[in-house]
Symmetry: C2
Subunit: 289 residues, 2 copies
């Protein structure tokens, strides 16, 4: 079984119809389907149905389902070019309701084609020197060191399979509020593919809240990723760059760097932001429905 | 008639079905539908059908049509939230073929909600001091000053309605290859709305080619935009930031600044890149089919 199928528990694929069950590690801290899961499933299904590498994927969140639900992801090639395929992936619940809708492209990169990396990596301290985080919300401890932020119980949602450490920034190439850098790896030491990087990159809303200086979470309206060359790397550096917020909506990007500084992908998101009451956090009211 | 409908020649809208004809100013330099037109139509149709402001839009290019073709854009609200709507827009040709597929969101920004701008604007000389460009390909004159690059005939495609000037960069906040800044305005002096900014921002592939140091064009696989607060501005500064290229595919972003330095939107694109033969350029082989 291939890496992505195993990580996501993705089954089937006949006629482009894949299935997965929302296990704990595919859920958010409140037990609902994690956005990173939906884009990772879309990337994998698009690659399999088109027999090409994913170049770009955008996943729109239409409704939500809870832990234990089986979701069907239907991948269709809309424009079957010789080199490039335009693909659509639609995720539906057992009752046929659309859960997520994705658009993307897959292709065959040319070995001698135009290639390059045009962004600078932040200079950060290595993961061994980095503070361990129980969730992305640990970022808020910087904003309010005295705040009582209840820890996330070990194994909750996506935090059960990925380890996060706060990367201390020595020099940032693109200054601004809310720049947060996080070392992320798989707890099982497994490979980080484009689909799994897309899963890991779903943390932009936290950086928007950090830029605004408030304790807030975001409901992602979409997750998008643009994919370059992936190299073997144990950790990725997630380099969050919030762009702007307007009236409780936030936008931003996440550059995905290999440990040795290759820009492997750039992700972006729009989210509906909501201030949290520190006494009523998502992981203290986990729902199972 | 509203600004966007007039600019795009957008008609109808009953049952969410809008129509427009690919006029010269809605075409690329080779006479085919311009990608910026498709995302601008998607933004406008999504706003009208949901009666909300566009927050984010991604448009995937599935097939192409030539000047004179009537395209139908069908806008549907997939998830009608109280505050936020998730929307889909599908563009089809007269024979029912899908031309473009868009996903996006619209919403009601909260007046007292989280707001802010977290990116730095490049410091550039004003438009009055800037070199006039006949098309985005004028950027390549920097790469090969001695190259004979045939001028684009006045009024070709989108260059008929937008004026471009090369903004001389004094200080760039995010150094890297291919950073190109362009002042863009409407030739008729009309208002720049989010839809029209999306139309103008379709120039990322040129900056990817510039970063690679070659004369090349890109066929956009998608155009995406994330929208903030728009202010009155005669010119926008299009701040192109190519991210990476792999095997003739390129990715990058465009920040959209008002003349006085407000970050109004961030756009991004993936494109399939193709080196140009300088003796056989798109505007010397315009097709009308």
């Amino acid at each position: 079984m291939q890496v992505d199928e195993k990580f996501l528990g993705l089954r089937g694929g006949e006629d482009g119809r894949f299935r997965f069950t929302v296990e704990d590690h595919l859920a958010r801290l409140d037990g609902r389907l994690y956005g990173g899961t939906a884009i990772a499933v879309s990337v994998t299904a698009a690659e399999r149905v088109s027999e090409r590498s994913a170049l770009w994927m955008t996943t729109q969140f239409v409704s939500t389902v809870g832990t234990g639900t089986e979701v069907t992801a239907h991948a269709e090639v809309l424009a079957p070019g010789r080199r490039t395929n335009q693909v659509r992936v639609t995720g539906t619940s057992p009752t046929g309701e659309v859960v997520f809708a994705s658009l993307g492209a897959t292709g065959h990169p040319r070995l001698d084609g135009l290639s390059g990396e045009f962004e600078q990596a932040p200079e950060v301290r290595p993961p061994d020197d980095a503070e361990r985080w129980d969730s992305p919300f640990a970022a808020f401890r910087d904003l309010a060191p005295d705040m009582e932020l209840p820890p996330v119980p070990p194994g909750t949602g996506f935090t059960g399979v990925i380890e996060m450490r706060k990367a201390e920034v020595i020099r940032h190439p693109d200054h601004g509020p809310g720049r947060v850098c996080i070392w992320v790896r798989r707890r099982d030491g497994g490979k980080i593919t484009p689909a799994i990087a897309a899963y890991m990159a779903d943390m932009v809303p936290m950086s928007v809240a950090h830029a605004c200086g408030v304790l807030a979470g975001g409901t992602s309206l979409d997750n998008s990723i643009r994919i370059g060359t992936f190299v073997e790397t144990d950790w990725i550096l997630l380099d969050l760059r919030p762009h702007l917020a307007v009236g409780d909506y936030g936008h931003g990007a996440a550059h995905v760097w290999s440990r040795d500084g290759h820009l492997m992908a750039t992700a972006s998101q729009t989210a509906s932001m909501m201030r949290f009451d520190p006494t009523d956090l998502p992981w203290t009211k986990k729902s199972e429905t």
